[in-house]
Amino acid sequence: MTQELADDAFAADLLRGHTDTIVLGALRGGDRYGFEIYKAIRDATGGRHEIKEATLYATYRRLVKDGLVEAYWGDESQGGRRKYYRLTDAGRAVYRTNVAAWVATRDVINTLLDTPHHDAVTSQKGRNR
């Protein structure tokens, strides 16, 4: 029980450290609005580790400030209007750098922690992409 709690705490922490990159990654396929990104992240993690909505909205604002994403209001007529986010070229470049850094870090940690070998194979694929 305590072991499980520790696992969760560690994973959430790790995930939080990569919020920027995760949000940038969620925008690679196309423009999305705030709650859509939140849902995409929540669904991708099977609902187990969700990033708090307030954290996400703070992240959007920071990314806009740094020019990594651009925000614009959609023109929905019914219901509330949605604020969409678009990945910029700067955002794309930062995303690529961050993913490369993560892959390198993960490889080192995998080696140090002696985790199964198949991780190294997938990371190789990731690097080729």
Binding site: K52, G67, D89
Partner: protein
């Protein structure tokens, strides 16, 4: 659904409604409405759903208080730049040094090579054209276009000290536009030595078409271009504000626009007069003159005077 709007109003009750806060409130509203719908779909009663949706959101004050949240490595230094101009300058230089990106050797070699090819093509083109022959000119125009396109694309795909690289496909599109314009100009100019020839018009039309397609592509790329500037550059520019007169004084910018239009219309008229009176061979000269005049004017109007105290 009304309850979620009421709760949102309550959450924002003690927050001064700045444009920024209003913006955030509207953004949060969409998310809340959708979350409530989600919860209701899973069987939660409306009132309860609204309450949990707002509760899940967390603290709104924290969202508005922090000025951009956790800073990137550079901003700490960038914030210092506000103090005094002298310190700002040295902090700028530190940032430039800190963020310096060395050009890749392959890129430098490639650009030098492509520049030599382009220069060689232009020189050969001129010599062949002066000779009165048109045999090699189309090939040379294409070679020039390819070299220009290659330089443009590889330069844009390259990371610089202040800019992130463009994605490959986009850089290639810029290169293609440059290649089209350069090739088109080269093909169009073939008409000059062969003016009496009946193919002259065909060269002008064909070349002009390529230039127009390239220009349209350039325009589309320019309009859809997103930010490439690195975060530290953006922090710097927001800290030091604008240095050009145009962003400080819209009237100067408007005057510059009117002068520019006048210069180019005059250049066009003079080129027509020259073409009819002296000969079409010299009709391009006014455009060169117009370009020089416009650049001098840009330098004087855009950056003149005001920076007398800043320059040293």
């Amino acid at each position: 659904m009304t309850s979620v709007h009421r709760l949102l109003d309550q959450a924002f009750a003690d927050i001064p409604l700045t444009p920024e806060a209003a913006d955030l409130k509207e953004e949060l509203r969409t998310g809340l409405v959708e979350r409530v719908a989600e919860l209701q779909a899973s069987g939660v009663p409306e009132e309860q759903a609204a309450l949990s949706a707002v509760a899940e959101l967390g603290d709104i004050h924290a969202l508005l208080d922090d000025d951009g949240g956790a800073p990137a490595p550079a901003p700490a230094a960038a914030r210092d730049t506000r103090s005094t101009p002298r310190q700002a300058w040295s902090a700028d230089r530190d940032l430039v040094a800190l963020n310096k990106v060395r050009p890749r050797p392959g890129f430098v070699g490639g650009v030098v090579l492509a520049s030599l090819v382009a220069a060689g093509a232009v020189v050969t083109y001129t010599l062949v054209a002066l000779d009165g022959s048109t045999a090699l000119l189309p090939v040379l125009a294409v070679v020039l276009g390819l070299a220009v396109g290659w330089i443009l694309a590889s330069a844009l795909a390259q990371e610089t000290t202040t800019n992130h690289p463009l994605p490959r496909e986009r850089a290639a599109a810029w290169g293609l536009a440059g290649a089209l314009v350069a090739t088109g100009a080269g093909l169009g100019l073939i008409a000059v030595p062969t003016w009496d020839d009946r193919f002259a018009v065909a060269w002008i039309v064909g070349g002009g078409l390529l230039v127009v397609v390239g220009a349209v592509l350039f325009t589309w790329l320019g309009v859809t271009q997103t930010n490439r500037k690195k975060a530290w550059t953006r922090h710097l520019s927001s800290a030091t504000a604008s240095i050009d007169n145009f962003s400080k004084d819209p009237a100067v910018a408007a005057r510059f626009g009117i002068y520019t239009a006048t210069i180019w219309v005059s250049a066009f008229l003079v080129s027509l007069v020259l073409g009819f009176a002296v000969g079409w061979r010299y009709a391009w000269l006014p455009y060169v003159a117009a370009w020089i005049v416009m650049m001098v004017m840009l330098a004087r109007m855009g950056f003149g005077r005001k920076d007398a105290d800043g320059a040293s």
